[in-house]
Symmetry: C2
Subunit: 474 residues, 2 copies
């Protein structure tokens, strides 16, 4: 257990960071002490708000000398309490929000250098203003910050084409546990000069170092997009259709999302202004988006041809291709409102899981069977990124059942889903990470040599264990 | 210094690996004791040739218990002595060549699981037989093995589209320094469950663990390619043309190679059967290759349109688009024979460097000026992967000069080139790594916090320092 911060440490920190650089009034620190999902409420003696990398380093040096633990925090949008503060008041919060400059954009290199506190949406807009695309897109992009996005290796809808956050990082600047600054802000596409440190910090959830800036890879901005909604006879057909599009249109395939009939039905019932642009409801849907940086191609015609062939082969029962941006948004709304619709339908249990792409249909079938055995009448709502194997296997209470009684069985249900995931060589946390919610699952899933390696690395880089204690490692 | 292997250790290893699993006759071990470039000649008491991951683990356990150092070796094609054996006879060679099975290919997941000893070309062919593409392609692919390719994060001609070896790795199996096996053979596109260990081993040059198998990401196989050779007025024009193609045809841009007039001239003079398919020689050339998995598109017409527009804007003086596979090979031969032509032209000094893409023209100009100041009449032959910033800046002796006198100045010339690379925020080793040749450069280029982090990681994962001693770290 780290020591609680002394008055002497707080005074030194205040002197180093200045009056704007530190909050101590409980009214000011409260928002930093509760996570977005309201799973955890902690307390802290101070929220540090350094404005520069040098100030971050100085704050870490002072804390390290005093043995005070630090919780790095960006937009505080973790789904797993990744930036949650402990209850005993011993931990200090270090907010990166004031490191919010876009330092440089180079549209020829297709790179941008941004500080950790830049909000993802602001980074996307800066890239767009330079004629480029920062392809990372997640639902929290309006408040999530670059530092947190990289520390948690965020995913999203477009990974089927552009990869995860990890795949967009060329360089990093990191403050280490002893307060040293590692300047690894290189913007090179080839550089074989020692261990790949940047990929160790990306996804380490703030437990190995504090990311203060990054060089991100950009892409050409799409000039034309085409979006289709397809009713398909089965999850197997959805997978087959994905394989065809991937082989034919891999270079243009921007999103490939699966939705169940039950999920779309909840959206249509609970979200005003939604509609199904097909002749009738189906048991399975896919949303396809193609995009290209070229102009002068006719993507809609391309997509129509691909879908027409698939329909002829029985992989599609019904389909519509959006004729306008407004129609594209109508189709996407069916997908994006899934979480909100589930919330309105009653209590629900969430699983953020992944399996090899080829096993998605089996996952959907077997996990549903397992959950129905446990809770007859349960509404299984599998949806999400079929193209990268990441399915949000959410479970909604039976209509009219008692929400509390349903939620009391959440661990039982999660265990049932995870048993199927395990049998299919999948992962129990595809996008959201481990945070404070899931370290207990690590020994079972990543135990033995793997967990031992992680512990050795943690001890080598943060020997005092001061960075984000209680997260990621059990 | 590790202890020399005792008779007792050798007997135990022989018992564990069987008669086919160990070579001790100097006539048999000699080929393993000299590197491909013949920079180093070492000696060893035994070459271990385990046939399975379990045998690799057992051999490492026995060596670790005895404190004997191990040099992991694949195809032994390193350009920097990455698998070279020391001269004092204390190190054992561990060849992965017998772990040579393609364990699985899944054309729906687009993944393949291969053992470390599979030759890269064999892996490419296995992928192709399943209708997929393993896009990694390097000149040593006929003998380089997957384990070495990953341990050194190989690059090549197609990284502008598919990335480096690192970008193709989804999972790894690694034998650790204490003989434990880490089974990280996951084939998931999203998996946020702890530190990204695989990217730590990829590029670590055998100093942290021995890669025994990997899950690689595959791509759809291209059905149509188009290749053009363009004479361009300047390196700046070559860069501008790249920017245009990238914005317009990024999804199809498979290779973008720069060649100097001097380099092409050497090829035409020294390599029989080469010809320039343009109206006359130029000072700068680029080779463009587009490829697409679609059929029914007309890539040649696309390319013609793009190049025509660029010509109208003065970015191209002359261009030819190959009309057949044979013509494509004729154009590629001008690029591929660069090294051989330089060899025939006399003594040469090689630099494997990278800079941000936007700085390639400045690199070419300033490095040439610096070298000409040192050796008037020197032939500068910059060529290579403009699209990813990796230029092979090779230097050929002045016509008729004394080769030995020229080679005596190799360090002076490399330092002059590297000073320019340094000023342009580049890297002194883009593709080839550090190996035994370049650790002395690490403190200057990657010193301070970065080298200290690497040393801590090495100590955490290989505390006895038994894996590939003398490589990568100074």
């Amino acid at each position: 257990m780290a020591s609680p911060p002394s008055d002497d440490l707080l005074n030194r920190l205040r002197a180093a960071l200045g009056p704007r650089g530190m909050l101590t009034d409980p009214a000011d620190t409260a928002p930093y002490c509760e996570d977005w999902r309201r799973l955890y409420r902690g307390r802290t003696a101070a929220v540090l708000r350094p404005a520069t990398t040098a100030e971050v380093a100085e704050a870490v040096r002072l804390c390290a000398a005093a043995g005070a633990a630090i919780v790095p925090q960006g937009g505080n949008t973790s789904m797993v309490g990744g930036a949650a503060v402990g209850e005993d008041g011993s931990e200090l919060v270090l907010s990166l929000a004031r490191l919010n400059r876009v330092r440089a954009i180079d549209p020829i290199d297709m790179t941008m250098e941004v500080e950790a506190g830049v909000v993802l949406k602001a980074a996307q807009e800066a890239a767009e203003a330079s004629g480029c695309l920062l392809p990372l897109s997640i639902s929290s992009e309006g408040s999530a910050q670059i530092g947190g996005v990289l520390a948690t290796n965020a995913g999203g809808n477009n990974t089927v084409r552009y990869g995860n956050a990890r795949d967009l990082v060329l360089g990093l600047e990191v403050v280490l546990a002893d307060g040293q600054i590692w300047n690894g802000l290189r913007r090179l596409h080839k550089d074989n000069t020692g261990y790949c440190l940047r990929q160790l910090f990306v996804g380490s959830e703030g437990t190995l170092g504090i990311i203060t800036a990054a060089v991100l890879k950009l892409w050409p901005r799409p000039r034309e997009t085409a979006v289709a909604l397809c009713a398909v006879p089965s999850a197997e057909a959805a997978l087959d259709l994905f394989g065809r599009l991937q082989r034919r249109d891999a270079a243009a395939l921007q999103a490939y999302e699966y939705m169940s009939g039950a999920g779309v039905d909840l959206v249509l019932r609970h979200i005003p202004g939604t509609m199904l642009p097909l002749s009738g409801p189906a048991a399975h849907y896919v949303l396809v988006e193609l995009a290209t940086p070229r102009d002068g191609t006719d993507l809609k015609a391309e997509l129509e041809r691909s879908l027409g062939l698939a329909m002829g082969d029985g992989l599609i029962d019904d389909a519509v291709i959006a004729e306008s941006g407004a129609q594209q948004r109508t189709i996407w709304k069916l997908r994006e409102e899934h979480s909100e619709a589930q919330k309105r339908a009653g209590a629900s249990v969430k699983n953020d899981i992944s399996v090899p792409v080829s096993k998605v249909p089996e996952l959907i079938r077997r996990a549903a069977e397992a959950c129905e055995r446990l809770v007859p009448g349960i509404v299984c709502v599998p949806f999400g990124h079929l193209g990268d194997g990441n399915i949000h296997f959410n479970l909604v209470q039976p209509d009219g059942a008692d929400p509390a009684a349903f939620l009391a069985r959440d661990h039982e249900l999660m265990d049932a889903v995870n048993a199927v995931v395990r049998a299919l060589d999948g992962s129990f946390s595809a996008e959201h990470g481990i945070g404070r919610l899931k370290p207990y699952m690590m020994p079972e899933w990543r135990g033995g040599a793997e967990l031992e390696l992680m512990r050795r690395i943690k001890a080598a880089l943060d020997p005092q264990g001061l960075f984000n204690p209680g997260k990621l490692l059990p």
